[in-house]
Amino acid sequence: MKFLLPALGALIILSLLVGAAGLGVPDWLILWQIRTPRTALAVLVGAGLGLSGAVLQGALRNPLADPGLLGIGGCAALGAIIVFYWGISIQMPAALPAGAMLGAAGGCAVLLALSARALSGPSLILAGVALSALASAFIALALSLAPNPFALAEITFWLMGGLEDRTLLQLAVAAPPIAAGCILLLSLGRRLDALSLGEATAATLGFPVARTLVLASLGVTLAVGAGAAVAGGIGFVGLVVPHLLRPFTGQRPGAVLLPSLAGGAALLLAADLLARAAPLLLPLAGEPRLGVLTALLGAPFLVRIARRAIP
């Protein structure tokens, strides 16, 4: 796992040197006002997604668990869109991540209620798919009722995820909840290890499963909710990263948390660099959307994992 941090460091430096304005050290204005927020947000959002995936897979003991597949990302987007198009976030920028986190919390609450009714394994993932579909429907409804007649068109773009042209203010507003969520999620390592020995064993060790699930939901709400508010819909990072890293860390759920944090950051930053490099290398009019790139990587991965996980 020693390669992860140097790789992340190299990606961060590269990220400050690559952009539409060309390769090399850019103007101070571009470096500080455009590439710094973009790079920092890619690291934070990716870290939150990778870690959330690792914790959800451990807590639900389900290799398919991922904040996007479970519908938490969709619910966060719904919350962000309602807050944005009703103008609440113009007066109060922090309302946007707050709305997204409220949406994510709602999604988590539904999933917790379902898992308390003994819904687990592939069934819980299917419930997440249903939750996603419901969130999409409500997003369409919220946009049809929004005061801005162009809302529906511009949000299609946003939902595909992206980090281009973000501001330092957006970074300042999103960073604290994402960081808090990551710290909470990292602290769950021993609980997840205990849970891997079975619910009864974990309970006798002082880690009842219900409490672990609530803490995990709280952490995911903070990290994924605030991330979705600035980056839109970015899927599959939480699914792919822990699976890629387990061959190096072993199967113990607690051991994969910290590497998933760094790995998620590195993966999303690499994907964002690819998006930026694409118009420089290929005859493209603009950058491909970030969520499109992660889906291109993640969707085949999902099929592979599903083939192994569902007999």
Partner: protein
């Protein structure tokens, strides 16, 4: 007379408000419509065939591209529907005003509007003979799209004596800053929340000289569009 399109709404109100049976609902939006104040007192309708048929209009005016299915339904029911083209420059606006004025039977009001617009355009012409004495400008629209050749915004820039550095394609913030335009033109800050329009107000752009144009002047071509060129020439 029923109008199904924000652009024909405005011409109708300017030329013959007394003939209006209904306007498109967007005509009342002060950010999109130059005639929002007058339209507030006129009936509006959504581009919906049932609602329009119910009004029994003599003539329906629609845009070339919007509400296609509604237009074909209305035509199938025997209504007279005229579809207007979108003008791309001030010559196009003159032709459009004349066309609509003829349709409404008020050609003299049309020529009066056109004459007024021509006088205001003539007052703008840069006097020192250089084609672009003011420098290079980028007209930055929602979502980072720039106004390119063949657009009304391009015509307004030229009429005001600017060279248009935009291409009509999308230009990210980094590209825009690298372009180093002498002037950045954007819509006035939106009062309704819009993700795409926030881009023009990114802090990295605060150092550029900027003029803002109310979107209502250029969304549709009309005699009022000359006001955009006047803003750009001040």
């Amino acid at each position: 007379m029923v109008s199904l399109n924000l652009c024909s709404d405005q011409l109708l109100v300017l030329l013959a408000p007394e003939q209006v049976r209904a306007l498109d609902f967007l005509a009342r939006d002060p950010e999109l419509s130059f005639v929002a104040a007058q339209a507030a007192h006129l009936p509006v309708v959504r581009a919906d065939a049932e609602a329009v048929l119910n009004l029994h209009p003599d003539l329906v005016i629609a845009g070339r591209y919007g509400a296609q299915t509604t237009v074909s339904l209305l035509r199938a029911r025997g209504l007279h529907v005229v579809q207007l083209d979108e003008p791309q420059d001030f010559d196009g606006i003159e032709k459009l005003v004349a066309q609509v004025a003829d349709l409404l039977g008020v050609p003299q009001r049309g020529s009066a509007l056109v004459a007024k617009m021509q006088a205001r355009l003539a007052a703008l012409s840069p006097s020192n003979g250089a084609p672009h004495p003011r420098g290079r400008a980028v007209f930055y629209e929602a979502g980072g799209w720039t106004a390119g050749p063949g657009s009304l915004a391009d015509a307004a820039l030229h009429a005001a004596g600017w060279q248009n550095a935009g291409t009509g394609g999308r230009m990210g913030l980094e590209k825009l800053l690298a372009e180093k335009p002498d002037l950045l033109v954007s819509d006035t800050a939106p009062s309704k929340p819009s993700m795409a329009q926030n881009l023009a107000w990114h802090p990295a752009l605060h150092g550029l000289a900027r003029k803002t144009v109310p979107p209502a002047l250029l969304i549709c071509g009309g005699p009022f569009s000359v006001a955009a060129a006047e803003i750009l020439s001040h």
